[in-house]
């Protein structure tokens, strides 16, 4: 037997003793090789390095639902759910000639543009619903950004000390019955 034949026979014998490694073993070894040079990954490294995520879709759906319910900005004309200790109160004003109507009062530091009403289904009617704390509130509507007018449906009208009258409502735990 020539030297080459002996070498071939030795290689064949050796090859027969080697088991083909399983795929999982391959993956595990390669993962070890990849991580060997990186050391223990810190939070910053985790944050900046691309990550493979595996999340159940239902978890994402639930989180999105919660975010929509809790974070959706309050749209003009529609308040979110009333917080504890507050009651939803609807304000309406018939102003068919107005191009904008807002609400200013003791509940928003008299900011004349913070709370805007939106046109309702009734032609000329503007409306907004707000959560208000229990108790007395004074307010006025601001039409077209400059005309301050009282709410004819409020409980009462009182002198504001500036030559105009503020509308008054008293919010009870069961809401408000207006005129």
């Amino acid at each position: 037997m020539s030297e080459i034949d002996k070498l071939d026979q030795a290689l064949a014998t050796y090859a027969s003793t080697i088991r083909t490694p399983s795929r999982t073993l391959d993956d595990a070894v390669m993962a070890r090789v990849r991580s060997a040079g990186r050391g223990r990954p810190g939070l910053w490294r985790w944050l900046v390095a691309p990550q493979r995520l595996s999340v159940r879709p239902i978890v994402l759906a639930l989180a999105a639902s919660v975010a929509i319910v809790l974070w959706w900005p309050t749209r003009a004309g529609n308040a979110g759910p009333a917080a504890p200790g507050t009651v939803l109160v609807r304000f309406e004003l018939m102003a068919p000639e107005a191009s904008s109507v807002s609400l200013a009062g003791s509940f928003n530091a008299w900011s004349p543009a913070a709370i805007t009403l939106v046109p309702s289904a009734t032609p000329g009617m503007w409306t907004v619903t707000l959560p208000l704390s229990l108790g007395s509130h004074e307010y006025m509507f601001v039409v077209d950004g400059r005309r301050w007018i009282a709410d004819p449906t409020a409980h009462a009208q009182v002198d504001d000390g500036f030559g105009q009258t503020n509308s008054v409502i008293v919010v009870g735990p069961r809401g408000v019955v207006k005129s």
Partner: protein
């Protein structure tokens, strides 16, 4: 591990969002009224003068939120500076008088809501005696503030001042809660909307227990029609105006 971190992050985000929403309450007027006025375009000297009034009032133990609110209201409505200052000073005097009335009935350190409500009542035509009567009738400070607020609102609705005071005094002495007393203005409005005269409404408030009237559930008032009508009782059919 990455999945757990993402899930935890999403859960914390949802929880923090819920906390943010439930922590939101209607905003109160800023105590730094000077800064707020300047931010809204008021002249610095006017804002400073108002701030000085607020600081002096705070030193006297008066609730300053009402003063700040009045200043912001006046500026928002475009009131001239001199008129704005007059209004703020008038309110300060009423707050001082209100605090005096509370101390005269034995409350050494009346709470800010009581003083503010009493000042509001004085501004709506109630007398010092009315204020003292209602504070005495209340069993707790929060009930006194509510009673004052409701009585002055009833008076502003047109019910005779003394009758409004008696009606609320009666409700407080009968032990009705602040929540129940808060319903009196809506009750008066609904009775008026049904055609009762002010005299009839006043009589209803004083004759017996007005809060015993059964009313429809108005907890969904925001979605209900603006006008709500309580059920008609037999005696009311005999008092309807022609």
């Amino acid at each position: 591990m990455n999945t757990r971190i993402v899930r935890t992050f999403l859960l914390l985000t949802a929880v923090s969002g819920a906390g943010t929403v439930f922590a939101q309450v209607p905003s109160a007027p800023a105590v730094d009224v000077r800064g707020e006025l300047i931010a809204r375009g008021a002249p610095a000297d006017l804002a400073t003068e108002i701030q000085q009034i607020v600081i002096q009032s705070a030193g006297e133990g008066l609730p300053v939120e009402a003063l700040a609110d009045k200043a912001l209201e006046g500026w928002a409505k475009g009131a001239p500076a001199d008129r704005l200052l007059v209004a703020v000073r008038d309110l300060r005097h009423r707050l001082s008088a209100a605090r005096l009335a509370a101390t005269e009935v034995g409350i050494a350190n009346p709470t800010a809501p009581v003083v503010a409500a009493a000042a509001q009542a004085l501004g709506r035509g109630m007398t010092m005696e009315d204020v003292r009567t209602l504070i005495r009738a209340a069993r707790r400070p929060d009930a006194a503030a509510t009673g004052l607020m409701v009585a002055s609102s009833l008076a502003a609705q047109g019910i005779e001042r003394a009758a409004a005071t008696r009606a609320v005094e009666q409700a407080l002495k009968e032990g009705h809660s602040s929540s129940e007393v808060l319903e009196l203005p809506s009750l008066a409005a609904s009775l008026r909307a049904r055609g009762m005269t002010l005299a009839e409404v006043t009589h209803r408030m004083l004759a017996g227990n007005p809060l015993a009237v059964e009313r429809p559930d108005i907890s969904r008032a925001a979605d209900a029609p603006v006008l709500l009508v309580p059920p008609i009782t037999p005696e009311q059919t005999q008092t309807k105006k022609p």
